[in-house]
């Protein structure tokens, strides 16, 4: 699939363009487009199932917004269930927020989740993000395992020597967190030396893949789509 090979930089730009386009929507008239857009992108990226799974948190949040706003705001009462009134304006505002949220998250995930950490960071560099921040992003992802392993190790070592469990272990845990962090930092320093000793300078060793015609095409299409969305929204 052509899309699978989209340049990381292009993906970042497209994600930002579409996200801001969607965020700019104000009226309920274009809501169907907000549903269609992420579906299209997800299908194009071949990521549909993957995204659905990761969308759960955002969906819960969106539901919460809809329910809360429907209950607390607006004049027009749609229905009255005992003391609880469901209101039209709240429902509309809630739906708008919820759909904007879901569709932005879906678009972002579809475009960026398939990238490896290296590609993601290379893309950031390509967009002119300072080297220091790009390095930070890469190391952060790398150290995630290290930190988890450090915590796991400390917990295991603790249990093996008869460490308590349950709520009585709570103070122990705060302490464990602190010592694990200190040790993780010491290890981080050694790992960093190991990387530098093997020639890691400032900046990345991965090449920035050049933007090809398809990349430019996709970026242009995204810009047009975002503008069209905003203009459609303002016109209706």
């Amino acid at each position: 699939m052509a899309d699978a090979a989209l340049n990381p930089r292009a993906r970042l730009v497209i994600a930002l363009m579409l996200a801001f386009g969607i965020a700019a929507v104000r009226g309920v008239a274009v809501l169907p487009v907000l549903v269609a857009l992420p579906v299209l992108v997800a299908l194009a990226a071949g990521q549909a199932r993957h995204i659905l799974r990761r969308l759960r948190g955002a969906a819960l949040l969106a539901l919460g917004v809809v329910v809360t706003l429907t209950l607390i705001s607006g004049e027009t009462v749609l229905a009255q269930i005992g003391p609880v009134a469901l209101r039209l304006q709240g429902l509309e505002a809630g739906m708008l927020i919820a759909l904007r949220l879901l569709s932005i998250v879906a678009v972002t995930l579809a475009l960026l989740a398939p990238l490896s950490p290296f590609q993601l960071v290379a893309g950031l560099r390509g967009m002119g993000v300072p080297a220091l921040m790009a390095d930070l992003a890469l190391l952060t992802l790398r150290y995630l395992d290290e930190l988890a392993a450090e915590l796991r190790r400390a917990r295991l070592a603790r249990r093996l020597r008869g460490g308590r469990t349950g709520w009585r272990a709570l103070p122990d845990h705060a302490f464990l967190l602190a010592t694990a962090l200190i040790r993780a930092q010491a290890r981080a320093e050694r790992l960093w030396s190991a990387m530098r000793l093997r020639g890691y300078g400032s900046g990345l060793a991965v090449d920035l893949a050049p933007m090809r015609v398809t990349d430019w095409g996709a970026v242009t299409a995204a810009i047009i789509a975002a503008l069209a969305l905003v203009m459609l929204d303002r016109a209706l």
Binding site: L63, A93, L120, M133, T179
Partner: protein, 207 residues
């Protein structure tokens, strides 16, 4: 307590980006003036990892979720480095987990970075004299300050149809839900700094 995508108008989101970019530029300039910024990177990255991971253990309390924020910790431990660290952490959270938002990245940056810098300032001022007290205040204070900024943004940003009174009630519930978090973060910062003072003073912000 991230501001998700889609809640606030796009103009605010753009303004947030502008503000965060300016803050990042300032912080990076400060950082570059340090004697050997490269040597600090592993420590900064490890704390960024902690910050990044902390939000993953989240309890969704719609329309937001409660989780450790660690802004105060970042500020005290990293000083000006906390700004790039937090921004990177927020970006990764948004992109990899759909947590927070890509359009609201700038606003979230303000919600987390300003309290971090406040904590840093507090520590700079009095950390040496009353380490435990200041650590507690920095940890808790950062959460409270973040809450205040968050509330301000939501108040300004929510659609006009929302009834002002109801909005305030909802916000208060949300704020109260976060008070235990403020306490917990104070204790975390204090414990960590205590252990550090004892076994690895080199990593302390104040040698």
């Amino acid at each position: 307590m991230h501001l998700p995508d889609g809640i606030v108008p796009v103009e605010m989101a753009l303004a947030g980006y502008g503000a965060s970019a300016a803050l990042a530029a300032l912080a990076l300039a400060r950082v570059k003036a340090l004697p050997d910024p490269q040597a600090e990177i592993p420590r900064v990255a490890m704390l960024t990892t902690v910050f990044f991971a902390a939000s993953l253990v989240a309890v969704p309390v719609p329309p937001v979720s409660v989780h450790l924020m660690l802004g105060g910790l970042m500020g005290v431990m990293l000083g000006w480095f906390s700004v790039p660290a937090i921004l990177v952490g927020l970006f990764l959270q948004a992109v990899l987990f759909g947590h927070g938002g890509i359009t609201t990245l700038g606003l979230n940056g303000m919600i987390f970075c300003l309290p971090a810098l406040m904590a840093f300032g507090l520590w700079q001022l009095a950390g040496r004299r009353w380490p435990d007290l200041v650590a507690l205040a920095a940890g808790s204070g950062a959460v409270l300050m973040a809450l205040a900024i968050f509330a301000a943004i939501v108040l300004v940003g929510l659609p006009v149809v929302v009834d002002a009174g109801a909005e305030r009630v909802a916000l208060s519930i949300f704020l109260i839900a976060h008070l235990p978090l403020a306490m917990a973060e104070g204790v975390i910062v204090m414990t960590l700094l205590r252990v550090l003072r004892r076994v690895e003073p080199r990593l302390l912000p104040h040698g």
